[in-house]
Symmetry: none
DNA sequence: CTGAATTAACTGGGTAGCCCAATTATACAG
DNA sequence: CTGTATAATTGGGCTACCCAGTTAATTCAG
């Protein structure tokens, strides 16, 4: 009957990453809110209703709403409908641009944003990190030494390293931001980038950051992180 | 058949809200990770597998995973399984609490995150701002001079000022981040914040930022923005 | 006519079973 | 051993159904 989501399947060589239906539904919801059709406190149309409007199945709708529900944006009352609780819907317009078009420019933009908050996170981590958190930061570092290419792709020590620092910062907002950006960064095109088998370079970047944090030196940690981002940027040819 | 989530419904007057299945599944997943059965990078058991293990239907499983997926904790590869991308799995309730409870601590956390990216945004704006964008930054500033309290509450020149700078940075990711944090900041701190009738103080903070950006001096812009955040922090008694 | 009680319709929660396309593992031919 | 078909597996998605609260309509006693 319906054959949704295949509209662009015609394009030849690059399936890249198929956008999930629930994501596009979230966009639709965001559009509802942004266009003023819905304000905080209002009730959403019913599942059965939206199902017809947007041409998706109920399960998909519920996936979208659940994802928003867990972030406190939507409240579901069994038998009573769904209600908008906050206007802050995550990355509405960005979904389109950033998730779908992994162009080089956005990658650099994400990197820049990462630098902004991760430098601060590193500084905070230097003063706030507990011993356990410090260990969590060091683990991916040691893991880097004995690793095969496939293991690298799977484990992704890089993401682990950065998120561990974010966590050690003690600021959950900062942490969430780092997580989000990391996610988008990798999604946007890490795999498309030249296979970097020069983890040695990666490690030589990460090590000073760890050392500074371990030493409890905020300023040094910030600078080490800055240096890391600079080197990444250069590696990307920017 | 199954009657899940009613364990705490016994209490008298407050039926509160029944625990959704997908939430308990998230807890199960968190337990998996916490107990060491799963580490970052590992692959999850298949949907069909977990379905049997936990006795829930596939849609419910997918709701749980989607919620985590959106936060970058899980990655789904069609045909290839699901992978754990971050070790930190938020407890559903805790997450909601964090987003909606406007406690003082989170307000400061948000402020800190804002500082991280807005300082960078200011620096970028100093080099990238077009003439029109510069005007957009200056507008709320001049508007501050001739304003009544009600007009202030409605127009929210503060938000305008900061978002204009973010826009002028030329980095959409950064801009989106600022917008998001601004939104959460105002949302979280609206009632707690003392009625700031000292816009004069606000203006004396904003002006130097504008001047530095207008002068095209990145370093000065960053410092001015830093100073602004410092003063805000002090005004909040931190 | 009014107001409480009873129904009926509606809404989200959850399940089961099916099909599809992408991925991964397997077997086989060279 | 290597590369290529082939089969099994996996997530993505849909349809259809049942259930328990909620809400609105309806009924009926006063």
């Amino acid at each position: 009957m319906k054959n949704p989501g295949n509209s662009k399947a015609a394009s030849a060589f690059k399936p890249v990453r198929s956008v999930r239906l629930y994501e596009s539904i979230i966009e639709q919801i965001a559009a509802l809110v942004h266009d003023g059709h819905l304000s905080v406190g209002d009730r959403f149309p019913t599942e059965r209703d939206l199902q017809k409007t947007w041409g998706v199945s109920r399960p998909v709708l519920r996936e979208a709403f659940r994802a928003l529900e867990m972030q406190g944006i939507v409240e579901s009352r069994p038998g009573g409908g769904r209600y908008l609780r906050a206007a802050r819907i995550p990355h509405p317009d960005e979904f389109r641009e950033l998730r779908l078009t992994p162009d080089r420019a956005t990658l650099l933009h994400i990197l820049q944003a990462r630098e902004a908050i991760e430098v601060m996170a590193a500084g905070l981590a230097a003063t706030n990190a507990s011993r356990a958190q410090l260990a969590a930061i060091g683990r991916p570092l040691r893991m880097l030494e004995t690793m095969t290419p496939t293991a690298y792709a799977r484990n992704d020590v890089n993401r682990d390293f950065h998120s561990a620092i974010a966590r050690a910062s003690g600021n959950p907002v900062l942490e969430q931001g780092v997580l989000d950006l990391l996610h988008r960064f990798h999604e946007a095109g890490f795999r498309d980038l030249p296979k970097q088998r020069d983890w040695t370079g990666l490690q030589s970047d990460h090590q000073p950051v760890y050392d500074a944090i371990a030493a409890g030196d905020p300023k040094a940690a910030e600078n080490a992180m800055k240096a890391h981002f600079k080197s990444v940027r250069e590696r990307l040819g920017a």
